[in-house]
Point group: C2
């Protein structure tokens, strides 16, 4: 997909294609369409991130709350978005044993109770042994920076998803 | 549903219940959860509207772009959200004849091309004869106020949906 193709999309098509760059937040892609034309992939990505950064804190927390748990019940039931299903499965989270799932469920619940949003991690940069380790580590850290850390993961996920969508011919965008 | 019940919801439950108060924008309900506790229905509604009003213009346009067309192909296919399906059906838009559907499709396309977002109307305050009349009227109006007018409709829709959700015992919220 080249830049010209992206810039030629009407908003319906654009939201269909880019609506899950930020998990379950098609509003963000729908807003980014206002910023076209885009000069390249970097420019497109910049507008996604600028929109996220400009939201009030409640909106940034809201983005996180639209994310599913890692290795949660939706992964088992197969009701995640296609992107999340691929990312979590790729990190080996579907093949966790019952003990591993239980341990993660407990850590996820502690994290949610502490921060008021779910633990979000770019699973493609992690694996099933690193995820519980990272969660346990964050639960011991001061909470002041956690929103910023979590939004950094949202952006890593968005970057990878954007690159995937444009991979057919990324050099052109 | 009383205020105490709403205030006791974790964010997952809150987004499940209130996620479509603004059509296909669960991010907004997920953000509003940050503002709990709510003193009553009016207070809850106030936080939804304040979030919408505080968004940059691109975000407000994004909200509108998450709305389906009135009497569009999704209504025929039955792929609208449950709320939209009820609202559009209640306004008689499912029983439009082929000519009426074609006329509305043309007006919707003109509106989208002119404003960059779809025509949004609180269908429960309208009917299948008023919808095309209102659309044709807006297409002749100056465009400067249209974003504000459209967001007013988003808020009317949100008000009605919130009232429905709390109807079981609205006096208590």
């Amino acid at each position: 997909m080249d830049t010209e193709k992206v810039n030629s999309m009407d908003f319906g098509e654009f939201v269909d294609v880019f609506g899950n760059v930020t998990e379950r937040c098609p509003l963000i892609a729908a807003a980014v369409w206002s910023q076209r034309p885009f000069s390249d992939l970097e420019d497109l990505e910049k507008h996604f991130f600028a929109f996220i950064d400009a939201l009030p804190q409640s909106g940034q927390e809201g983005i996180l709350r639209c994310h599913p748990d890692l290795a949660g019940s939706e992964l088992q039931r197969g009701t995640l978005t296609a992107e999340s299903q691929r990312e979590q499965s790729g990190a080996g989270l579907r093949s966790l044993g019952a003990d591993g799932r239980l341990r993660l469920a407990e850590l996820n619940a502690q994290y949610r109770a502490r921060f008021g949003f779910p633990f979000v991690l770019a699973a493609r940069f992690s694996d099933r042994t690193a995820v519980p380790r990272e969660l346990a580590r964050l639960l011991l850290c001061p909470s002041a920076q956690e929103l910023r850390t979590a939004l950094g993961e949202v952006k890593k996920i968005g970057s990878l998803r954007l690159a995937d969508l444009l991979r057919a011919d990324p050099a052109k965008l």
